[in-house]
Amino acid sequence: MSSVLTVSGLGKTYASGVTALSDIDLSIERGEIFALLGPNGAGKTTLISIICGIVTPSTGTITVDGHDISRDWRAARARIGLVPQELATDSFENPLATVRFSRGLFGRPPDPAHLERVLRDLSLWDKRKARIMTLSGGMKRRVMIAKALAHEPDILFLDEPTAGVDVELRRDMWALVRELRDKGTTIILTTHYIDEAEEMADRIGVMRKGRLIVVEEKETLIRKLGKKQLTLHLPEALPSIPEALAPWGLTLSEGGARLDYTFDTQADSTGIPSLLRRMDELGIVWRDLNTRQSSLEEIFVSLVRETA
């Protein structure tokens, strides 16, 4: 795959002296879904705003499909669609007029067939002549997506696309994003919902305090940073963990009837066979065992804590 977006050495320091972004290097592959995670104030929206031309960077360069966003800004911007976090719509306009406006604004000639397709895909066609102010919150968010798609962008930025929407609409959004990716659109989304990233993203970037601390394939991230836990259920409760089992760092719970062992999947040895052997030598019998992989949410929380 080739890069459709390249960010090099990007930094942003506001006039107040606050540094919002430092040394961001990022390459987005064509046709992928990239999720940007991070706590509030991590710099996700600032990064998106700079790429889209809304905020001026202090340092660094950005190219969109080979076009520098400063020197060749027209070609760069024409390839980008943005759905911002806030519901900002022209309340007195109707969906059809507002998507027509968006398409023209991005320098594209009128194409009623394309606009109809976009509105139908987003279930807005029946409401095309209704004032936006009369639409529900979910509908308004769809209008904003329709506006961003009106000029047929190669890259679509979705800044917190499902914030405050109901479960059904959230599922619809996910389906729509996958459909867009299947048609060749590169998707970059920010989200607070870890399950959203886990469900959709091909790759994940984690931001904290203006820095991009991790960029990995989703599965690799889970595999590399995820820890597994072995749980042993004991038929006879232990009063405490025997001294001989101290090297495994076990935890005892459920009144001594459950032993938990956390191991690193990337280590040379998981330590499980030796643990089970040692337990056998000590005469500790187990009734049942199971293992569990860390969720992306747990990885995210640990990453953000580690770099605090």
């Binding site: 506001y14 705003s49 889209c52 031309g53 809304i54 905020v55 001026t56 499909d65 800004w73 027209r74 070609a75 911007r77 024409a78 390839r79 980008i80 943005l82 911002p84 806030e86 900002a88 719509t89 022209d90 309340s91 007195f92 306009e93 007029a97 027509r100 406006f101 968006s102 398409r103 023209g104 604004l105 991005f106 320098g107 594209r108 000639p109 506006k147 047929e152 190669d154």
Partner: protein, 261 residues
């Protein structure tokens, strides 16, 4: 043109902004046209008929006809400023400005769209007021081309000024501040309803520091060939104000003042 390529001049973008702004006015056509026409009619009833009948002639022109250019200018100033300032302030207020800032449209193209639409609306309004006035007083325009030139130049200049106010304003109060506290008083004191020669000393000299005197005087010259100040000076000052506004707008877009972080 292949997808993703935008020409050196984004005509579709300019047209989109212009059409959007004009559509906004069409939605409020009653307020946009009927209100100013009604207000102008009231001015003629009060100043033209009730008071004007006792005023006699000013500079050889009946008082009713004499106030026509001033009334048009008054509406032109206020409408140009209102339309342009509201046009750019409202997207800032609602947050929809993000789309214009992220689109492949240059500062110049944005300006043509917003200021062009605001100026178009005020020119149409000026012409409607002129036609309304013709119903009340006999009117002859000595220099129609000069009249149109003053009309267009003033509408564009004050639309630029309104655009600046719209970018500067951080609230609806600020949006009204300059039009209400500066432009309106200067217009009323700028000879819209009288010749500054009618003022006692030293006010006739002090009035010359009011830029609106030059705009009204030049416009009135195009109607009646009478003016308080030389017409060349009026034209020069209007053009000068236009250049100052263009300079400020250029600086706004270069620095992103109150538009970009």
């Amino acid at each position: 043109m292949p997808k993703g390529d935008v020409p050196a001049f984004n005509a579709h973008g300019v047209w989109a902004i212009y059409r959007f702004e004009m559509a906004r006015s069409l939605r409020t056509i009653v307020q946009s046209l009927v209100t100013p026409v009604l207000t102008t009619s009231l001015y003629f009833v009060v100043f033209g008929a009730a008071i004007g009948g006792r005023m006699g002639e000013v500079d050889g022109v009946s008082y009713g006809a004499f106030i026509v250019p001033g009334l048009i200018m008054l509406s032109l100033f206020t409408e140009s400023i209102f339309n342009a300032s509201f046009g750019i302030y409202f997207p800032k207020f609602t947050g929809t400005i993000y789309e214009v800032l992220s689109a492949p449209v240059s500062a110049f193209e944005i300006l043509i769209g917003y200021v062009g639409a605001a100026a178009t609306k005020s020119i149409v309004l000026g012409l409607v007021i002129l036609m309304t006035a013709a119903l009340f007083v006999p009117l002859e325009i000595a220099h129609p081309l000069a009249m149109v030139a003053f009309l267009v130049l003033t509408a564009v200049t004050f639309s630029l000024f309104g655009f600046i106010i719209g970018v500067w304003a951080n609230g609806f109060e600020q949006l009204q501040l300059i039009p209400m506290l500066i432009v309106m008083p200067l217009t009323f004191l700028g000879g819209a309803f009288y010749s500054i020669a009618m003022l006692p000393e030293p006010w006739d000299k002090i009035a010359l520091f009011n830029p609106v005197v030059y705009l009204v005087s030049g416009f009135r010259w195009s109607f009646f060939e009478t003016s308080d100040v030389p017409v060349g000076l009026s034209l020069g000052l209007t053009a000068g104000f236009f250049c100052v506004c263009v300079g400020i707008v250029w600086w706004i877009f270069r620095t992103g003042y109150r538009l970009k972080s």
